[in-house]
Every structure is written in structure tokens, then in C-alpha cells.
Symmetry: C2
Subunit: 215 residues, 2 copies
């Protein structure tokens, strides 16, 4: 693998490719042309070739891609051939929903521990088998004991930095942050921010430009 | 306002700037230098100037930005000086959590209608006042009647395209899509995708590169 800086958008598209190849696989398709793969992804074939070129040579000129092979390669690149253990901090409405969200499991991420400031009050949805909610003072010990590698933060904005520091000191180096705040973390820690309000604002920005602003 | 194509990442940063200016405002700070604003945003001042330059001239050389004025300008640009009415389709775990998520409200987005394929079975969390859940066959009529402008899709992947078509035919032109599938929509419709599994995969990608893959 070349030691280039891979853009985040490329990594996201690799996820898309892997998911779409999985669909082809399910449909019994063994080989797919780059045109057909590109069409299903809503991209042009050149973009797919460019994204894949970061990681080596894939596909056969004039033939296309071997569906199963490329899928397994992509999963290897994405690091999802094994399951990852995930801790979730903040068992409010959003945190509870994420704990119950089956989509994580299908991607190979298992929520192994849930923490909350008030573990007695927090409630996870009854449908599903969830770990017992623990107090945030248990973060360090439990994350180490259970070999957890990724943390999800769903606490209020003002508590997020403190939680991030606890996670990092427990050895976590990947954080998915839903709190609307920029976390300060050491360089070796990768943070992905999902700011749901900001996503809606980017829609309202485009609607406003179209003259669709509400009266 | 110049008629340039504004990058999505710029629009996202405008949301960040508005939120951080709001914090300064709350701290009683009236004027902020571009260095201080940049530091709080985790960016360099040149980036902020470049982002703002799409929309006009802001700030006073050698002085900085007027906090309240810039904040109001940004809210106007983002189209969030008024409230937006939002419909949510799919009242499962994730949809219920989003309906209960207070963060949308603070950004000026009000979930005005919730739809589900099985409205009798779906249950919203007891904490909060939510609209009655309606069947998906009511989407078109209710969205028009209530003047809803934005749709959130939290249905399973295989149902998402059909829901998007219903929303578009009801007049919706902004969609926040949580289903892991690319929606095909007319050109005037803006879609933002939030794929939570893919966010985690981008973390596992970086952790794998560090040699932190699970054994």
C-alpha cells in the first residue's frame, strides 16, 4: 500500500463501493464492468479508478472487476474483516438509539460498553440485548479490560471534551463525536464529527438560495 | 451575494462559525479577532476569511469581527433566521431518537410530522411532545397541508428510494438521508447523506493503518 495521504471522501466512497459490491454479490453477479459499478454508485468510472489506485491495481482491462475479490480487498483496506469493539458514552435519546441501531452491527462494529453520567436513570430500549449502563468513572478500567478500540460520544456539548479525554487516556484512538463541539485530542487520535444540526443547516442554506425560505 | 458554487465543506464551517459566535456572544464578547475566532474553530484565519469571502466583506482590518453582526449575517446566509418545518419518515429506533433530539430545535428545525409504514406499532419516546405518527400514504397530503420543506429519511435501505419519491412529489426539496443508499432525485432536490456505519468504517480504516486492528 502506498504511503499517500488518503482523503476522507475517498475512504467514505470505499465504504460505498464495498456495500454496493455486497449487493451485486447477493444478486449472483460475479464480474461487474467499471461502467455498471460507477452507475450504481452515481459516479463516473474514472473516479472509482482514481480512488482504488491509492491501494493498488484492481480490475481487468476490458473485463471489469471481480465482485467477490474486490469486496474482500476493500473490507481489508477498511479494516472491517474483523469485528471492532465500541464504547458509547451518553445514553440519552440519541445514544440509546445508536446503541439499538442494527446498522453498526452489519458493518462489524459491536457496542460492547455503554456509559452515562447517571447510569441509574439512563434507559436503553427494551428491544435488543444491551450491556448494562456503567458510570463514566468506570470508562478507563472497562475500556482496557474489554479491549475496546473505538468510542462514540453522545453527551451534551459541554461534557464532550471531558469524555474525549477519558477515552483517550483509556487508550482509544478513534472517536465518533455527535456533540456539536470540536474536540481537542492528541495527533494519533482520529475524530469523525457528525453534527446533525449542521447537516440540516446545509439543507436550509441550499433551500434559501432557491427562494424556498419559509415565510 | 456572488453566484459562485459554494463547497459543502464551507457551508458546514459556516454552521460552526455561527455556533461559536453564539458562544462568544453568551460570554459577553462583542468583538473578536480573526486569530481568536480561528483558534476556537481549530482553523487558520486565512481559511475563515476565504469562507466568508464567498458572501461579502466581513470584519474590520486590525480590529476583527463584530460578534453579533457576523452571527446574524451567518444565520441569514444559512437560512436559519426563520424556523423550518421538517417531516421525519421512519419511526424506528433511529427515527424516534432524532424526533426526540433537542439539537434540531436549537438550530431552528421543528419536526412537524412523523410518518411510518406501521403507524400503530411505532412508538415515540414518552419524554417530549411529538406529533401523532401517520401512515406513509398520508405523506403527500400532510406535507402540503403543513407547509413542510425538509424531509428526514430513517427507513431501511430498501424502502428509502420510494420514500424519497413520495417526499419529492409532495414538494420537498431538501432531504437528510440516514438510509445507507444513494437516492435518485431530480436536480433541484438537495440530499445530505449521513451514513453512520460508513463513519465508523472511516475510523477503522485509520486505526488499521496504525496497526491497531483487533486480533
Amino acid at each position: 500500500m502506498k504511503r499517500l495521504k488518503i482523503p476522507d471522501v475517498t475512504v467514505h466512497r470505499l465504504s460505498d463501493y464495498a456495500r454496493i459490491l455486497d449487493q451485486f454479490d447477493g444478486e449472483g453477479i460475479r464480474i461487474v464492468s467499471s461502467d455498471v459499478l460507477a452507475a450504481r454508485c452515481g459516479l463516473n468510472p474514472a473516479q472509482i479508478r482514481k480512488d482504488l489506485a491509492y491501494f493498488g491495481e484492481f480490475g481487468v482491462r476490458g473485463v471489469g472487476y471481480h465482485v467477490g475479490e474486490l469486496k474482500e480487498n476493500l473490507k481489508g483496506i477498511l479494516g472491517v474483516t474483523h469485528a471492532w469493539r465500541v464504547a458509547l458514552v451518553g445514553a440519552g435519546n440519541l445514544g440509546s438509539a445508536l446503541a439499538a441501531y442494527q446498522g453498526f452491527l452489519t458493518h462489524g462494529f459491536i457496542i460492547t460498553a455503554v456509559f452515562d453520567k447517571y447510569p441509574e436513570q439512563a434507559k436503553l430500549p427494551p428491544n435488543g440485548r444491551f450491556p448494562k449502563i456503567l458510570g463514566v468513572d468506570r470508562i478507563k478500567a472497562e475500556i482496557r479490560r474489554r479491549g475496546i478500540q473505538i468510542g462514540i460520544i453522545t453527551v451534551p456539548a459541554e461534557a464532550a471534551q471531558g469524555v474525549a479525554e477519558r477515552l483517550v487516556s483509556a487508550g482509544i484512538s478513534g472517536i465518533l463525536n455527535f456533540a456539536p463541539v470540536r474536540l481537542r485530542v492528541p495527533k494519533h487520535v482520529k475524530v469523525r464529527n457528525v453534527d446533525l444540526g449542521s447537516e440540516l443547516e446545509s439543507l436550509s442554506f441550499f433551500l434559501s438560495k432557491q427562494g424556498g425560505a419559509p415565510s
